[in-house]
Symmetry: C2
Subunit: 252 residues, 2 copies
């Protein structure tokens, strides 16, 4: 994935705030090439405000009079679309679309076009595209804000860029080794002794207490430091039991 | 996935516009339960404006004084987090996180918490969570707008809800059957005859012309209607050749 070969093209945007929101969404995800086809108001301070630290993308934005000028040098063009066009076009969700763009972006110029806030792209504009993209939405309210739509598409592109390097499990970045079965078994012995000493566990009627505690700690996968903390608590507890039982400390 | 059991919790939000943006993002993706922990300004007309047609989510938003009140009845709590915490916590990207929430949401109450615009969630708030969520961003500009972050998470939840029903290929919703090999072969014969008649193809030196045309149409997968259109063009073309060759029409 080469995000530098992918441009976001906004067609006839009405609200300059949305242009700023798009610039920020793009920069957050590592995209930088913004094309504006006949924007209603640009430059505009609403755009600058919403762009926050992505003002450089507004400065380098390419403003054109027509869609053809914005995408003329592209080999692959995607247009965002609501469903239900009269002539069906190849239609993908943002994830499938990012997967199609990925191998092309190394060598080719790719454009993803977004239409007007109220009416999207025209049929003529959609017919310039190789592929149509549709973002799944709720039937109850299907009209996404323009910058939100760009955010989702740029997020999917970035996910393909970084996913191989992301941790595959929630434990992948753990700072301490997870404990071994051997050490865990020592802990359970220590725990059982302690619970017996404090008379919480009755060896004559153990019920399922140890089984339940084993299930609890097994489920959580303790690391070595956590195991040491728990054993430290047990050791201290047993000291108090010993102290309470010692003749010297006994008051009467 | 039951989106009705998933609440979005915003902690100490500064800008009411962001609350409105969050409401819209949620409703677009089919979520409805918004909790606001000590928002700076709410209700506020900026929120209403940004919410667009999601004002009902603002009306039904639950405002609480503390995080504990907002998540007290939840069985699973996710907190959004920048990387690099002092004590690592189980950390997932939005996609993995949605996959964890999916099976729980049928029976349990799930909260996804988002922190302050400038500083996110505190360490104490993050320690209330079962899991931390991190959205991959560009190193050059990693600070996502709050509503954008919510949009991405809600999008991933919706994708898991709808994905089994989404077309798996770009051709899945085609309106016309794709042509059979048999009909395609008839078209190639027709095409070859016509190209010979118009003297574009020299049978004595055919070069790779037909192979190239086969590759072109094979790549595109013609449907039956498209095939009929192309054959219609060939038929009409041949009529003009016949007309040009007919003695009656010959001028001299």
């Amino acid at each position: 994935m080469n995000l530098d070969n992918i441009r976001i093209v906004l067609v006839n945007t009405t609200h300059p705030g949305n242009i700023g929101g798009v610039a920020r969404a793009m920069k957050n995800m590592g995209l930088s090439r913004l094309y504006l086809v006949a924007p209603e108001k640009f430059p505009d301070e609403q755009a600058v405000w919403r762009a926050a630290s992505a003002g450089d993308l507004l400065d380098s934005a390419v403003v054109t009079a027509t869609v053809e000028e914005a995408i003329g040098d592209c080999q692959f063009v995607v247009g965002t679309s609501a469903r239900e066009r009269r002539i069906p076009w190849p239609l993908l969700d943002p994830r499938q679309c990012a997967a199609r763009i990925d191998p092309l972006s190394g060598q080719e110029q790719v454009a993803v076009m977004f239409g007007r806030e109220d009416r999207g792209l025209t049929n003529e504009e959609l017919q310039l595209c190789n592929l149509h993209l549709n973002i799944p939405t709720s039937d109850a309210y299907s009209s996404l804000n323009l910058a939100m739509a760009v955010q989702i598409v740029c997020y999917e592109l970035r996910m393909l860029l970084v996913q191989p390097g992301l941790p595959q499990t929630e434990d992948a970045q753990w700072d301490t080794p997870f404990c071994t079965v051997e050490n865990l078994e020592r802990f359970y012995e220590h725990l059982e002794q302690t619970l017996t000493e404090i008379e919480f566990l009755d060896p004559a009627a153990p019920r399922q207490l140890m089984a339940r505690l084993r299930r609890l700690y097994g489920r959580v996968r303790l690391d070595e430091m956590e195991l040491n903390i728990l054993r430290g608590i047990l050791t201290e507890t047993r000291k108090w039991v010993a102290r309470a039982n010692a003749p010297d400390d006994r008051s009467n």
